[in-house]
Symmetry: C2
């Protein structure tokens, strides 16, 4: 743990089949008016909407609604939420849905009382948060983003064609999150595997950086192993409670900052995918899957030892008699096979990207990286390799 | 994650060489009067006492002191601290030292305004905490107990010859803990290895339970692997910063409740050691080491698959061609060898126990366990096997 760090994660987690029973006690901690934020209606189909509005009613809350949040939540929707918060003097924002809905709720929370233009201040210049933050609570229905236990809020500015965000400070984290793995049963299989790969990608973004000896890397390996193991079970039987509960918890701890402590981290796959998402509106995890293999092949020569460790400790490949290059490639091949098992796309074409989009995506992507600093040219090379 | 769980860990962690620089900002969150709790003077020798009192003075704090906290903190000392808190209307209890000092500080925090007899209410009957809790902050100088990031408070009642405690709710956790691995350099080697084994034992107590498929077990394996790896480096070079920082962080996350989520857990080795400690005042980690091998040999037939997994995933033993019994034993043998590497005792005799004490310890130990319920007879068998 060579780098100094600060860790503080105040989110309360209620996990399991009985998790929703704790909602009334949590609601009692906040004032009368609740902004209920949800997506395009799957919570209505599943009956969760009715269940939650009944709890809210019983608790005597006045409920304002913001629905139709998109899988890449837009700045317009977020501003509409912020307006509702101010107009109705909302005391609690309750997000019911996946990471997009929770990201949007946190964006609303940050923006409602922002002094100045929220986009410029918080999503472009990443300024310190200096305004009142409206508390957020979450009921999670899809595992993957980790938004339920961190300060992440990724928002798409449609007008500017930018998908930006970062992890905001602990004050922005959900005050509580309700995680019932059974809620994730209703998510279509494509969304399930997209979420699984999103978590895998978060873990790799944190893992593939640094040359130091770090407890965090061992933790990440443990979470990756559990995730891969449970993903294979869930692919065969999507209603295997143990598998789905492990996947749900891997997603939460995979991005609750504990798996990134004292790590430089990479995040370039996410930066590229954000721009891919801005142009194609593809599912986040699917975009990450397509970009990952060419990206890791591109950077592995710059972080060879870590890729060998990945092959050994995550995929259990005996690499003693291999060259480092072969060992690293063997690990990446296992990752490729895992993406195939999940049935996720390996080309941008399948995600709706056109060849003309590639330079636009490359040029608008935030440059950075872990073992290698990625320029716009490097990014274009990666995009071409998976087009 | 078959069992439902609640997770909430509000402790703020400042980790690294610059961690103490954050103390002034933390002090500003509390009132004027600070109770400074520390041990038998090693913090004075190291200069840390001077550094911290200078910070307190600069912050304009009135400082009351409670020093001489023993390695098994006593109920008498704890009550003295509680009296000081009431008498001086203390706003913050600042613990500077190892787990014993922090455990004592949390005990003081719980007891100062307790309605009724604190020992009976909180250390025997484990009643819900219903009184004001005085905030605790910590500056850690020895890694092992994990007390810096949980609600644990183990106190020895000398009069009753009992060492009791549990993990109290998040309100009792330190509000902040300052973890500078360099502070642990001054700890004698015997204390260092005792702390390392304490952490290893916490991880095993949580690991050896349950037959379900659980992300938590993968996490524990990761922490164990990092701990074993770094312990071996620190044994050769106690001032290897990376190794000592990993050991320090393993201790914190190894008992911050995240490595116990959705686990039944065991804790019988700790229960036995608590009574061993009450009779011999031995170093906690040393007592755990002596008890562990005969204990795990005794229970492994009842949780064979998990012991095979321990051999595979923690010690990297290829067990494919072995019987389950042989594989389990091979893992326990690696653990024995690790205790030898650490130079920790393997008999109770070395720790000052007499043969006459064994039935007294067995009969006063809280009965429980993971894979096997341990009766007083079972416990006596284990004690005899390591006498």
């Amino acid at each position: 743990m060579k780098l100094d760090f600060y860790y503080h994660n105040p989110t309360k987690i209620y996990f399991g089949k009985t998790a929703l029973e704790h909602l009334p006690a949590e609601l009692a901690n906040y004032g009368d008016t609740v902004l209920l934020v949800y997506g395009k209606g799957s919570v209505k189909k599943s009956g969760l909407y009715d269940e939650i509005t009944a709890v809210l009613q019983k608790a005597g809350k006045t409920v304002v609604e913001l629905s139709g949040i998109k899988s890449n939540p837009t700045y317009t929707q977020m501003l509409e939420g912020a307006r509702l918060v101010r107009e109705h003097q909302v005391h609690l924002i309750l997000a019911v849905g996946g990471g997009s809905v929770i990201d949007c709720a946190k964006g609303i929370s940050l923006s409602a009382y922002c002094k100045g233009d929220p986009w410029e201040r918080y999503w472009v210049n990443f300024e310190d948060v200096d305004n009142e933050i409206v508390p957020v609570g979450a009921v999670l229905t899809m595992a993957g983003t980790g938004s339920e236990m961190n300060g992440g809020s990724v928002i798409t500015n449609e007008e500017k064609m930018l998908k930006n965000g970062r992890v905001y400070p602990p004050e922005v984290y959900p005050k509580f999150s309700i995680l019932n793995p059974e809620y994730t049963y209703t998510v279509p299989k494509y969304q399930m595997v997209s979420g699984i790969f999103d978590t895998m990608s978060h873990l790799m973004e944190q893992y593939f950086s640094g040359t130091d000896d770090n407890t965090t890397d061992y933790l990440i390996e443990g979470v990756m192993r559990s995730l891969i193991h449970s993903a294979r079970i869930a692919l065969k039987n999507p209603e295997d409670y143990e598998a789905r509960s492990n996947i749900m918890w891997c997603a939460a701890i995979g991005l609750n900052t504990v798996t990134g402590l004292a790590k430089e981290q990479d995040w370039e796959v996410h930066m590229i995918e954000h721009q891919l998402g801005a142009y194609t509106d593809c599912a986040h995890g699917a975009g990450l899957a397509a970009i990952s293999i060419p990206y890791y092949k591109y950077i592995s020569p710059y972080g060879l030892d870590k890729f060998v460790r990945f092959a050994n400790n995550v995929w259990e490949i005996p690499t003693d008699t291999m060259t480092k290059e072969d060992a690293a490639n063997a690990g990446i091949e296992k990752l490729t096979a895992f993406i195939e098992e999940l049935g996720l796309p390996q080309t941008l074409r399948e995600l709706g990207a056109t060849e003309a989009m590639l330079p636009l995506i490359a040029n608008s992507t935030v440059q950075g990286g872990g073992y290698k600093h990625m320029t716009a040219d490097d990014i274009l090379n990666v995009l071409k390799a998976c087009y």
